[in-house]
Amino acid sequence: MVNVIKMELYRLFRTKSLYVTAAVCAGVIILLVMLTSALINIVTDVSASDLTVSMSDSAEGTTVSVSDTASQSGGTNPADFCSGFISGLCGIFVVIFTAIFIHGFYRDGYSKNVIACVKYRWYFQVSKAVCIAVYSVVILAVASVVSLIMSAISLNSFEFEYMGVFFQFLLGEFFLLNAIGLLSAFLTELTYSKVTAIVYILLASTNLISGMLSLLEDKINDIFHTQIELWKLLPSLYQGSFRLGAPDTSGNGEMLAHAIVLSVVFIAIYNAAGAYLITKRDVK
């Protein structure tokens, strides 16, 4: 099994997609941070809630002064600021890269060369899961480093006391990305098509599926005079994990626990179901 893992890791680091996706991710984050920090600075400048108004009476009359208190307030939590860029963006790249990487194993026919060379075919499932985890680390590292650097440069102030929370957030993100990547890999292996996995996951992550269910439930409720909420049929973990919005960065560990559970569940599903598929199906 170690040989198979080494083989796939060798292939991983010689795949151009790894470096291309990392570069694109970095470029997108740079752009987003620059845009976002410009907006924050503008809003900060004009935000009424950050202004202090004081009046004083003097012989000459009443003096009204307005001062900007934003710069006097606490600095920006990197977890809050960076999480919005990292979460959804990395999820998309993990899905796309995983689908391409897994699909390449079958599309190019390399599977025929090696599948019969090992004692158990499920070794390949484990090796792909390892590669997905490694890629998740790589993309997360690139995204977090770039966003931190750009944020530190762009924002008026940046509080490094929140870095502990930020790293906890990154750890939770790693497990979430792992779970998403494994689902993408499973769909790719099931259908031998990278398009299926990419389209399904992207649709799910933009809440289009739950949105469609909401529309459907209105019709059903009208017709049958019921009060059901179809979207609640989606597992709550799924619902919480595939949105593109910024996840919880309060650092209270709930998200991390949630993410670990999700990752473990998908590891089990991927390896069990994938091992069954790769063992029982004829090699394409």
Binding site: G109, Y110, K112, N113, A116, C117, V118, K119
Partner: protein, 302 residues
């Protein structure tokens, strides 16, 4: 005589169609076994089964002493190298990297080993060129080289000379010969280019519509394709009795045609005996049969 592969009533069925239908072959260790058949005859499906890429619907295999009936045959697949259909290669990687991947999977990490395999296939000078830019012949040679990684005891090559120019065919043929002679690797090779196969194979299996029609050695095939008398008579049945009386080795093609495989130099005496016996002989002539003609005649009778 040691057999490296034996199959017994091996069958592969896809929905209503049997791609391989009760095929029983025996392949000697160290031989080059040529599997001959038309497109869609079931060659590739059979090779995929013995290579561990497809599970049989029914029947048994015994490879290197490991049997499918007791579930140990997977251990044999680890000792088989295969090139089935198109070579499985990553087009955006170099030849070295493609071979290195296979070598790593087999537990071999030596770069010199990979370079030696590339040299075996004549690809030692391709440098950092991506495989996607290789010619068809180079890709086929790379596929053969990759199939030999891990020092397999048996090599399965599915139409390795398809689409190659004459130079490429010669190169692949030389590689196969060298592998077989120097490393005593048993080779199972399929093709429908019969003349090329006849220059390589020591044994043949002819497959048609999923069924094994005939299995014979190279010498036996030569015997069947060698010079013979072809007799067209008004009654093959009556002529056969006379030939039998003469002690000739003959075969009946149809109700009017017979082949006499020996005593060819006695064609005049045979003609006289037939005419004297009241048989109307329309034609009698000596001819050799090419491999293609033998194959066609066999298939038409199957």
């Amino acid at each position: 005589m040691e057999y490296i592969l034996k199959t017994n009533m091996l069958t592969k069925q896809f929905k209503q169609q049997k791609a391989v239908d009760n095929v029983s072959v025996s392949i000697e260790r160290g031989s080059i076994y040529g599997l001959i058949g038309r497109n869609g005859a079931g060659k590739t499906t059979f090779l995929r089964m013995i290579g561990g890429l497809a599970a049989p619907t029914s029947g048994e295999m015994e490879i290197m002493g490991f049997r499918s009936s007791d579930g140990t045959v997977n251990q044999a697949f680890e000792r088989i190298g295969s090139l089935i259909e198109q070579p499985g290669i990553y087009k955006n990687m170099t030849a070295f990297e493609n071979c290195r991947l296979k070598a790593m999977c087999c537990g071999v990490y030596s770069e010199d080993y990979v370079k030696a395999k590339l040299a075996l296939a004549g690809l030692q000078d391709v440098g950092k060129k991506n495989v996607g830019n290789f010619s068809l012949g180079m890709k086929q040679r790379l596929g053969v080289a990759m199939a030999t990684i891990g020092e397999p005891e048996m090599l399965i090559l599915d139409e390795p000379i398809n689409g190659l120019d004459p130079q490429g065919i010669i190169e692949v043929r030389d590689i196969i010969h060298r592998i077989n002679k120097e490393q005593n690797i048993t080779i199972v090779i399929s093709s429908h280019i019969l003349e090329e196969l006849s220059k390589l194979a020591t044994h043949y299996g002819i497959i048609h519509n999923g069924r094994l029609v005939e299995q014979l050695s190279h010498d036996e095939l030569l015997g069947k394709c060698s010079a013979r008398l072809e007799i067209v008579a008004d009654s093959a049945e009556k002529a056969a009795k006379i030939l039998k009386g003469l002690g000739c080795n003959y075969s009946v093609a149809n109700e009017h045609m017979l082949f006499v495989n020996d005593n060819i130099e006695k064609s005049a005496a045979i003609n006289k005996a037939l005419v004297t016996g009241g048989i109307g002989v329309e034609s009698l002539y000596r001819r050799s049969q090419s491999l293609e003609e033998y194959f066609i005649s066999l298939i038409s009778r199957a």
